[in-house]
Symmetry: C2
Amino acid sequence: MSNNYCLIMAGGSGTRFWPRSRVAKPKQYLSLFGDQSLIQESVQRFANFIPEESIYVVSAKSQQAVLESQTGNLQKKNLIYEPVGKNTLPAIGLAALFIAEKDPDGILIVSPSDHLIQNDELFRQCIDSAALIADQKEGIVTIGITPKHPATGYGYVQTAEEIQIGQPIKSFSVSRFVEKPNVEVANGYLKQGGFFWNSGIFVFKVSVFLNAVQQYAPELFADLMRIKEHIGKDSYETALDRIYREVNSISIDYGILEKASNVFLVQGDFVWNDLGSWEEVYKYDRNKDENQNATVGEVVLIDTQNSYVYAPNSLVAVVGMDDVIVVQEGDTILVCKRDRAEDIKAVVGEITKRKLDQYL
Amino acid sequence: MSNNYCLIMAGGSGTRFWPRSRVAKPKQYLSLFGDQSLIQESVQRFANFIPEESIYVVSAKSQQAVLESQTGNLQKKNLIYEPVGKNTLPAIGLAALFIAEKDPDGILIVSPSDHLIQNDELFRQCIDSAALIADQKEGIVTIGITPKHPATGYGYVQTAEEIQIGQPIKSFSVSRFVEKPNVEVANGYLKQGGFFWNSGIFVFKVSVFLNAVQQYAPELFADLMRIKEHIGKDSYETALDRIYREVNSISIDYGILEKASNVFLVQGDFVWNDLGSWEEVYKYDRNKDENQNATVGEVVLIDTQNSYVYAPNSLVAVVGMDDVIVVQEGDTILVCKRDRAEDIKAVVGEITKRKLDQYL
């Protein structure tokens, strides 16, 4: 059996959690539930069964300070930085070079850093099963989440026949990946069955992955090989900077998974959510009061229900409100109807338009 | 014709405008509309037609610093301080001693410091008419506001026959003062007619007022005469402190107006509101946008209507809300449904219970 390695992807930026998520502090560095940030929870989830020296993070150079401050248990050499963001495939490719140097036959588990996962034990069983399949089938394995509703915010994976590895966890060969559907199409998927949400968690041998890059993304492969020559040398930073800037942005889904034939899916029945908005943070908060309010900080609620209030550094009083989100961060305050949490992008757009960059 | 003097009553405390009104900064010192505080607006309203050396303020000793900082145009000797609050009659009595020393036959206009009045010209005409009646009738004159709706938050004044002084402003003799009614009673007043809201603005000769105190509140009068002996002497502060603490708290309405016979009412048809809650500040704000939102500070509104946002030192974003009040002050934030603005006292109660005095 091969050794397991974990690669946590932490390069994302975004403003869905404004005013908490800022340009300098994207979502993965936020503590949305309790004391640990999402990336710290992600690292811990893997550290339960993978040695810390085998856990890698790939992130953006601009996030180095915050990443290091939150991953003190990981070795600095395991933190890989992109000079600029190029989507998931180049990021994984870059990190894979380092892991391949150490153990080309290692099994690599690639995971987002900013998702919610509950039930760590079941999660581990799924990963173990995926690692077994990746090893035995020399394939690319994805964790698929059993869909709970016709979500339009996720990509879907359609499966074919079940395979008999890693029971009792169910696994299947994959027939195709599909982009985010509209609600009618999503409803069709749920009726038809055999469709899963694409969790963004992938498992494969490093060598299998690099072979796939060579086959399906040969230009990127050539660039990676040029970068590889500089690893461990003084020239690395400069060479990386020069070569990586020319790389085309492409996702692993589009660049490899949709093209490769030897793809499998492990059925994930643990609680999973990609935390796309404050609404989902409210929903998954497990410390609600008897009026279904979730609060952080000194909060006074008078006749208020089903609401989320985050204000660690202020006193917030809410009177006579239902279904509202209130978030205070520094000198910014968000007050948002829960079902309008998606519209925070309009807020960020307006702040940008007003050139109030200090609030972004 | 006698000289006019103005006495602005500014000793009130309260928390209806929490988090802006604090123990150390009651409502009259807040700028609720534009740059001027309510007391500054009150002083200015009288300074349009009364010389500043004839404008007095009576306040609490504890408010001396904030009062002086907001009334730089007034002479310090015109700022009279109660050592402790004893309601309106002793406060007016104390100030009347100073004005009587200067001009016992002067006409004194007593006004709250924390009400909203619009249409300064009509207001002035009413005051002029009231001064004329006070002078000619040697009576006590109150400004009554024509009721717009069956308000239960105001006292009412019932009038008898019209008097023929100061036209075209209408005036009446007063038959009785009544306490805040319930809604059925208030409806009856409006149907019956001849009832007015008690504005808390009174006009009388200083000598007439002091005679009324002597007749209807002889104990207070005796105390005032004892205080009078110390005016202008080094012993004043100590004597005032000693004597005033023993004075009974009593309002001018209960102590004199309800008992006196020679009382008149001038009909006030200017815009008047006692600003009892944030709801009224919202209603009377004249700078609303096309969605009927009133805002102060850097405010981003997305699909939000009929709302009030005050946040001079923060960026506040409000998304998908109707009829909401958001107020930021220092490290406190209020989010309140507009029709629940009265419940701010419950917030203050809860903060008190939690012993978080720094937020009060």
